[in-house]
Symmetry: C2
Amino acid sequence: MSDLENCLNTIIHIFHKYSEREGDKNTLTKRELKELLTHELPSFTQHVKDQSSFDSLMEGLDTDGDAECDFQEFMTFITMVTICCHEFFEHHEDE
Amino acid sequence: MSDLENCLNTIIHIFHKYSEREGDKNTLTKRELKELLTHELPSFTQHVKDQSSFDSLMEGLDTDGDAECDFQEFMTFITMVTICCHEFFEHHEDE
């Protein structure tokens, strides 16, 4: 597998590592999402410290309003974070 | 860096490895996209063999119609591929 293929595989694997913990094994509950972000995206979660910011994030991600985050909703979030990182590095390079 | 953070970093790095080759260094030309897919997503490109399929793919990705694929358009594609892989594995598990 190429590096990129390995990455896509890792993203799927990480989603399921947390989604399997409680309730529907194919979606993240609010608690599972919080655990995932805390352990797998620590650089991001240091900016989401209070519960109300986290609640807003979950509401934003949960586009179908079922109070769970499915894989498509999770990928929308991953895309958003990656685009933000990319913009940060682009501006950083210009300095 | 966590595994997930490493993945996001790798995706950004791979995009730039190819986007820097010719023209605007922040976008992929059709040729750069083809090189990226051939080398970095070989499992995917084995299904996109002829030039017309590749042209349709590029047209689909290029949502702003500038004949180049920028990072946001590239991430839309990566999301699409990851969701397809995820669905494949989900159905495979049910068997």
